[in-house]
């Protein structure tokens, strides 16, 4: 498959009477955008705001982060099986608005975390302090159940992102990148001497507020399968995950999956990027057995030499990660796994809930329990309800100067397990 990604760099976002993109500036009409969000009657109200890198702004609780895109040619549309009708994406031309994101925020459940600080020490940990953020804070109709509301906000975010992306349809990209994958046979012929490598992505799929969707299908119901990595780049996987802010993959991370990008960068040079394999992280132990068996089987059937396995979330997925690693290694396929750690505030506890000697090549996104001090911000987008709740948990957390002492785990994307960041631990 051949996908052309046209990058349009957004240098500023401003509210205006009508929405458009001009000279790298995104102008957003609040009314028009609100109308898009409120298409779903489950959402009572939506408030838009803009957060820019370097500002004294805190966004919380963050639900999802989405990069606006528009499909200009080729099969399928934006978020196939979710917004656009089901059709295989990953070929043709797609434009992406770079340097910005649509951020959905607002309380869905009472304990929800997810902090994006646009400046200060917290900004060093979240990748979304570097993007211009169009933030939408939604408010549900009374009496809505959390899962209905989660779905409503998820879809509203996608609609607004698609609405913003559509503004770019007639523009000329600032930069175009071409990503091309080969079929199995082509790959063998073209790169007979290069190691055959796949990316095994584990998708969060435990249940309510822990879900991921592949072409609209709930990932806990899939059997492990293969994708062209260009499908992932083109929006085939979206997030429905609200929990574990530091190591969940927002939709933005799926759209810009760094393992996909970095394997592509080496494709045809040092390795042959054969395909992406997706699998899940179910709660039921027999599902774990089946999914890891299948993942390893696919690796063997594809005659892989190596695989990079990434995880999503805390605890239960550690077991899937180790199962995948062990079984793939047992097929003679060399693995590197990417995870993060929960080593306790003092760093002295066991980092993972599972371990095996087969996992001899580990990349870590850092210790999510490590404490960080977040200074008071001038402005809060969303609500500090839960943050204050965290602060209230111990007398030391809310400090005299209004700063917060929190664990990294509350910061969106801080210890991402697809290797999105530079944070690590030793």
């Amino acid at each position: 498959m051949r996908l052309e990604m046209g990058h349009i760099y957004i240098k500023d976002i401003q509210f205006a009477d009508s929405s458009k993109i001009e000279n790298g500036v995104l102008y957003v009409s609040r009314e028009e955008a609100a109308a898009v969000a409120l298409e779903d009657e489950k959402i009572k109200n939506v408030v838009f705001d803009i957060a820019k890198p370097g500002e004294s702004v805190r966004i919380t609780p963050v639900k999802d982060v989405i990069e606006p895109r528009v499909k200009v040619s080729g099969r399928g549309g934006v978020f196939p099986g979710v917004l656009a009708k089901v059709d295989t994406v990953g070929s043709g031309t797609t434009y992406a608005l770079k340097g910005m994101a649509v951020v959905t925020a607002g309380k869905i459940v009472g304990f929800q975390e997810g902090i994006i600080d646009m400046s200060g020490p917290g900004a060093d940990y979240t990748p979304f302090s570097k993007t211009l953020n169009l933030v939408m804070v939604c408010e549900p109709q009374e009496g809505l159940e959390p899962h209905e509301y989660e779905a409503a906000v998820r879809f509203a975010g996608f609609r607004v992102a698609a609405y913003v992306g559509e503004l770019a349809r007639e523009l000329t990209p600032d930069e175009t990148k071409v990503y091309e994958t080969c079929t199995i046979k082509e790959g063998l012929e073209k790169y007979p001497d290069l190691p055959r490598v796949a990316y095994v992505q584990m998708l969060q799929s435990q249940g309510l507020l822990h879900d991921t969707y592949v072409y609209g299908v709930d990932a806990k119901k899939i059997l492990p399968t293969i994708l062209s990595p260009t499908e992932t780049m083109d929006g085939a996987i979206v997030s429905g995950n609200c929990v574990s802010a530091c190591d969940k993959n927002p939709t933005y991370v799926h759209q810009n999956n760094p393992v996909v990008e970095d394997l592509f960068a080496q494709h045809g040079k040092t390795l042959n990027f054969v395909c992406q394999i997706i699998t899940n992280e179910n709660v039921y132990l027999a599902d774990k057995m089946r999914s890891s068996d299948w993942t390893a089987k696919l690796c063997a059937m594809l005659d892989l030499d190596g695989a990079i396995v990434s995880q999503e979330g805390f605890g239960n997925p550690d077991t899937d990660l180790i199962m995948n690693c062990k079984k793939i290694e047992a097929e003679g396929v060399k693995t590197v796994i990417i995870t993060d750690e929960y080593a306790g505030r003092d760093g002295k506890s066991q980092s993972l809930a599972d371990a095996d000697e087969a996992a001899d090549a580990v990349i870590t996104g850092g210790n999510a329990n490590e404490v960080v001090i977040l200074p008071k911000m001038d402005k809060v987008i969303g609500t500090l309800d839960y943050v204050n709740k965290i602060a209230g948990a111990s007398e030391d957390t809310l400090r005299a100067d209004g700063s917060l002492e929190v664990e990294l785990q509350v910061i969106t994307g801080a210890t991402n397990e697809t290797g999105f960041n530079k944070l690590s631990a030793r």
């Binding site: 009472g110 574990s244 709660v283 605890g315 077991t319 080593a343 948990a393």
Partner: protein, 136 residues
């Protein structure tokens, strides 16, 4: 098979909604204590069918946990091991869950009733997903 499967939980919502249809063992206990109940059941011969660290809501954030357990020795994969004692995989999982608990500060004290309800609902949804997988 369904007769041998039980739900062990400290989640009142799971107890309320599932007790009519399934065998629910409910204890009103804090998270680490219900995990110890599960551990004791494992040492008495029960098997875990779901992961005791289900959900990415951390220990200390959620006070609730439900698991599916199979009474007596597992029929799958451990034939002929009757009376061989506790299932080692289950022991490993429950012990790692117990030690994971110690890593997190308890933030759940003083949660609003609404928040507790949300947490109960999430735990219930996770176990319902597992029930669907178990076809019981």
């Amino acid at each position: 098979m369904s007769g041998d499967i039980m739900i062990v939980t400290n989640n009142p919502l799971a107890h309320e909604q599932l007790q009519d249809k399934y065998n629910v063992v409910y204890y009103e206990l804090p998270l680490n204590e219900i995990l110890k109940v599960m551990r004791d059941m494992i040492h008495a011969g029960c098997h875990l069918l779901t992961h005791p660290l289900s959900g990415s809501v951390k220990p200390g954030e959620t006070p609730y946990k439900s698991v599916l357990m199979l009474k007596g020795p597992k029929t799958q994969g451990s034939a002929g091991e009757k009376g061989a004692g506790a299932d080692s995989e289950s022991v490993k999982l429950i012990e790692s869950a117990l030690s994971a608990c110690e890593k997190f500060a308890d933030k759940s004290a003083g949660y609003a009733e609404k928040t507790l309800k949300d947490l109960q609902l999430i735990d219930l949804d996770l176990i319902k997903g597992a029930i669907a997988s178990a076809y019981i």
